[in-house]
Symmetry: C2
Subunit: 371 residues, 2 copies
Amino acid sequence: MTQVETLQVDLTDRGYQILVGPNLICNAAQYLSPLISDKPAIIITDSNVSQHHLEKLTNSMKDGDIAYTVITLPAGEDQKSFKGLQNLISAILDKKPERNSTLIAFGGGVVGDLTGFLASIILRGIDFIQIPTTLLAQVDSSIGGKTGINTQHGKNLVGSFYQPRLVLSDTTALETLPRRELLAGYAEIVKYGLIGDKNFFEWLEQNGRPLVDGSQKLRKHAIIASCRAKAKIVSKDEKELGNRALLNFGHTFGHSLEAETGFSEKLLHGEAVSIGMVMAFDLSVQKGICSPKDAAQVRAHLASMGLPTRPTDVPNQTWCSDALLKHMAQDKKVHKGKMTFILTRGIGDTFITSEVDNTEVKALLAEAIAV
Amino acid sequence: MTQVETLQVDLTDRGYQILVGPNLICNAAQYLSPLISDKPAIIITDSNVSQHHLEKLTNSMKDGDIAYTVITLPAGEDQKSFKGLQNLISAILDKKPERNSTLIAFGGGVVGDLTGFLASIILRGIDFIQIPTTLLAQVDSSIGGKTGINTQHGKNLVGSFYQPRLVLSDTTALETLPRRELLAGYAEIVKYGLIGDKNFFEWLEQNGRPLVDGSQKLRKHAIIASCRAKAKIVSKDEKELGNRALLNFGHTFGHSLEAETGFSEKLLHGEAVSIGMVMAFDLSVQKGICSPKDAAQVRAHLASMGLPTRPTDVPNQTWCSDALLKHMAQDKKVHKGKMTFILTRGIGDTFITSEVDNTEVKALLAEAIAV
């Protein structure tokens, strides 16, 4: 198993390991076994993931004599709702979990966010393990411990900080992932280069195409680099009192675009982040703190990969800058009524600021949505 | 303000103070002010408490220039439900809270448990302050950080460990409390004597009657002693991995009685605990580890105060030992299918054990419910 790389996330009360490599699902039992009690593990998955990968996981658990039970959710973001939460809690309590029971989140971001939140509140907190099956979840949502559900007031306004006991990121699982979803995950990988690692961004400029086209080796390298970058930030600021907010680069703009498209298939989260990061560069250029050359370089790379870089790249969508601004003002990161922005002095040099006027944002939005 | 006593709860990441004394609600602003940001505090209360005490609190906040807003819930345990949670989350999000917003739980255990749980999950965790207005909440539920709601599967199966930033226990507020509720709270006070402080139990034997009858001084002494006992245990074992379970003395039996009476007015929580503690003594006597004299002494004191000490003391209720046993088996504290019991070697000498056979429990239940 020399192909498996291990990364340690250090946290005061409970750190954990992230394992990245091929065929981790087929060999899951050996990693799960030391962490699971005699109570049957409860695997939470969705109908898509179940179809492609569940048998590999359950076969391994059978071989390893790990008792388990499975709850399969319908696929889709609407599971991350109050209704979805209540249904899943009921399904889990039907299985009579005890305090040493373990939940296994087996799927993408929706399954991971929902399962993590549930683990944090069932019996006032039980263990959970992440086995993310999308690129987006492997490089972002499965690590760092942010969990949550959506309400009519907005995304992830209800949730917790709750860390998994282990993350198993199987690069082989990505082979069944649609290209569009791979690209959406790739946008979050690019984010790590943009926020603090210019060399990594340049590596992505060289290797992004073969990575998305299928290279296991390049994918593993990029996932590890992404996890390492995120773990470093999270270890220092688990509850986002400071620099963890850098991980939201491109997300304030991105969330408002997603809100306008109803968090639908029309615009995937990673696609929204791709556009949002370019907008953050453009705003930084507009404020005279970043060179237009860097902004152009970022836009060129994302576009060359096939990612959208402007709101107008979204097909069949008309935009309204007032509506976008309103969504931005509802973001969790608002403080004293002022929005927090992650701006940049150039590739790899982002920073947090609330020194942005509404008029500047309006001007940027107007330009961004102009056809 | 020499009449106000302060107790520090030490916890690794965030300790807090419990203040106990008269007229704390009228003077709340001076204690709240250092902890509340410029965002309006959100006071969560219920219709009963609002009627008796809200104006005192809001007058103080006005005088102290602390901005606030109020959400008044219908009184009653059914607010501690999924439906209640969802409604309250929606009402709070309508007020656009930010991460530095503070919730104030102003009421009894229901308001405190629900508000604490909400504070732990809104925006992934915001501050909350407890201003408990019942004796039960002042000596038990407002301190220690256990929050939760009930589901159809049982009580408090969904919740979190989440500590308040401050607890203000106003002994004056108890003057409007019905005697039956005072007595129910008194049962939890007796619990602290029984689990680890024989001297305190003997003090209660001497002072219990005037305490319940209205002595501010005796009430303050008992509340402080109770909070000190609980804080000492919680500081060492916040997440109930060990000795914190001692605080559940009488609760496994008690919960099963409450479940059978539908958690209704028929049997208050403290009354159920009173009966449960006597049953735990009786079981300990039955196992030959506790003297019948101690059991009789405990029963005599609780009965002399006017508390029920046998299931058959509950009016208009028939009991079934199988049903009670079934409820006990669904308790959160079940481990490897074995129930955990808090038994006792005598007054002030309790311990945790799972070495109790179902046949012993059945025999005890049969005797307890025999008319």
